[in-house]
Symmetry: C2
Subunit: 371 residues, 2 copies
């Protein structure tokens, strides 16, 4: 089997840290082995540090980021509940769809592609619908490269409405402050700024979110994602629920170790530096940045190609000639834009130099227009 | 980080094949990379060979075996549907719970712990409830070590009731014949006889099961496990749904390669040989086999310890002294029995010799009663 060696500079997965790959290849231990349970506990502790939270219910869900999204909705929502969702890209739309399948009535608060969600608009929607079960927003929209402000939503703590945040692409790449921002439920993914392969979804729930789950009238519609049952395994009871994905948990443990050895603030600074440089240089090469200035994610850049460029063909050339993966645009940006990821182990000066070097060569050869 | 080196002879996970661990540790490729899609296609092809099916919709679900169970129920069942479920252990019970959470009315067909489900009883239940949407049965009950016969249920093909089979512990360990048995939907797990870590659930669906999914009135309550959407990624459309767990898919691809290099029938024969030897020798050591003779799974043996043995303390000794993991009994067998797994890479003469050697030493030292 030949697997090519790729530089993954698209929207994810990113290249994993070498320490993570080494951990993945370790022989297995059992999911009830005391040594594995120790690693699982330490993984949850490390996740608390990275999420900046004291939340007891903090753990990796056994599925990819979208399973984390679904875990939040199926546990927090009951049929007939009202939920308010910010929609400014693919992942806000996905939250609406998942919520509807839980029987929720969805109130949308929209912003254009490339724009952040106005937190005041979410607060106003909640004021108009104070019975709403939760307000949900995507912190870091992977489809547009936009950061929406979460901190102002802390005001929801004075209401009966919970605050749910998607930070699949945010965690470890930009500041995430679960406790300081009053976030009640949050999910992420391993394959972005954590530098771990896809397969787990770190989640964290505040005490009032846990209380909401405990006081449900109906059981969550998903047995696999039932946090009451999962909590009995991850928590002190150690009661078998499903077989944990051992190798992935060991890999996440290792990836969080690399991150915390570097330091969380240092990781944020590294992402900020390389993303800022990429964005500045892309503009000099004739690309147009699509996310509103001041709300650009350093780890995920959306940029329209110079006029006349065949993005799909050029993206294929990037992959075939240099083994560099960049992502195509989605939705409103499909066919005209690329998405550049500088995430986790890939958030390096060398990555920026490499991808810019490739673009300059394409422009020098006339394969890509210069403006 | 120290991870102990374990001989995993419990109910799963089993030790992974060395080729699988090597594949797990490979650098990542993207989930839309042409080379990854080739590996994914080949993985589905290999799964068809192992499931003995021509089913187009054959793929690994991005979760553990229980996610495979849930994927089958949420896609095939709509609220108000009647389902008939064979219950002779933990996993039949789990199917009832998952079905109820899909809004199904559940008709139980029971057998005692250690006994197989009588296929005629399932057929009779369907004759009495011909409107039933599906009949579900656990082929290989991991909690009891019992094999229930699936082949006679082929008769359901003459009715409008679908046949759903759990073979999490069966696949590659004993014959599974999806097409010859007329199975409409089946799920398995990677961490048993496939010799791959936990994290994926291979599933396969017949054309009439796919037709049933297509003709649903309501969308599946799970977005993450929606096979219509997943099929658009795994199939020709290649439409993004969720980020596939790349490393686990590459590992499954490698594990299926090891299995098919050995040959499926050779794998069945290897499991039969080592399981038969273990069961015969355990009886000479004072253990009592708990699964009905003629329906014993070679890959998963339930055995009551000799009278007076403290199973939990002895199990801990096995782990601490020799690094051998065996499983405790569940449900009716809790506190008095062990579960021995000889699965995948662990289904070797050396495993049998090792575990029997340890038991003999415990008996020689007086730590375990001899009868």
């Amino acid at each position: 089997m030949t697997i090519p060696d790729r530089l993954l500079l698209g929207p994810g997965p990113s290249n994993a840290y070498p320490e993570v790959l080494a951990a993945l290849g370790r022989p297995l231990v059992g999911h009830l082995d005391p040594e594995f349970l120790r690693i699982l506990d330490e993984t949850s502790d490390r996740l608390r540090t990275v999420f900046r939270t004291e939340n007891a219910l903090t753990l990796p869900i056994s599925g990819t980021g979208s399973a984390g999204m679904e875990a939040c909705f199926v546990n927090l929502v009951e049929p007939g509940d009202t939920v308010i969702i910010g929609v400014n890209g693919v992942f806000g739309e996905r939250m609406c769809e998942v919520a509807r399948r839980c029987g929720a009535e969805v109130i949308r608060v929209e912003a254009a592609w490339g724009e952040p969600i106005d937190p005041q608009a979410l607060l106003d929607a909640q004021a108009a619908a104070p019975h709403a079960r939760l307000v949900a927003v995507v912190h870091a929209e992977t489809s547009t490269g936009v950061r929406s402000d979460v901190a102002p939503l802390r005001a929801l703590g004075d209401t009966d409405t919970l605050l749910l945040v998607d930070t699949v692409t945010g965690l470890a790449g930009i500041p995430v402050e679960i406790d300081a921002w009053g976030v009640d439920a949050c999910y992420s993914g391993t394959q972005k700024c954590l530098g771990v392969p896809p397969g787990l979804a770190p989640v964290t729930f505040s005490d009032r979110a846990v209380e909401r789950i405990r006081s449900r009238v109906t059981p969550p519609q998903s047995w696999y994602l039932d946090l009451g049952l999962i909590g009995d395994y991850v928590g002190a009871a150690r009661k078998y629920h499903h077989t944990a994905p051992i190798s992935m948990v060991v890999a996440l443990h290792a990836g969080l170790g690399v991150l915390l050895d570097e330091g969380l603030e240092a990781s944020w600074a590294r992402h900020a530096a390389v993303g800022g440089r990429l964005q500045a240089e892309l503009e000099t090469l004739g690309f147009t940045l699509l996310a509103r200035d001041g709300h650009r994610l350093p780890q995920l850049t959306t940029a329209r190609l110079p006029e006349g460029a065949d993005e799909a063909a050029l993206r294929r050339t990037m992959l075939e000639r240099w083994g560099i993966e960049v992502g195509g645009g989605l939705g409103a940006f499909a066919g005209t834009a690329w998405r550049f990821g500088l995430m986790g182990h890939g958030a390096r000066e060398r990555s920026v130099t490499t991808v810019l070097g490739a673009i300059r060569e394409l422009q020098a050869s006339g394969e890509m227009p210069t403006a």
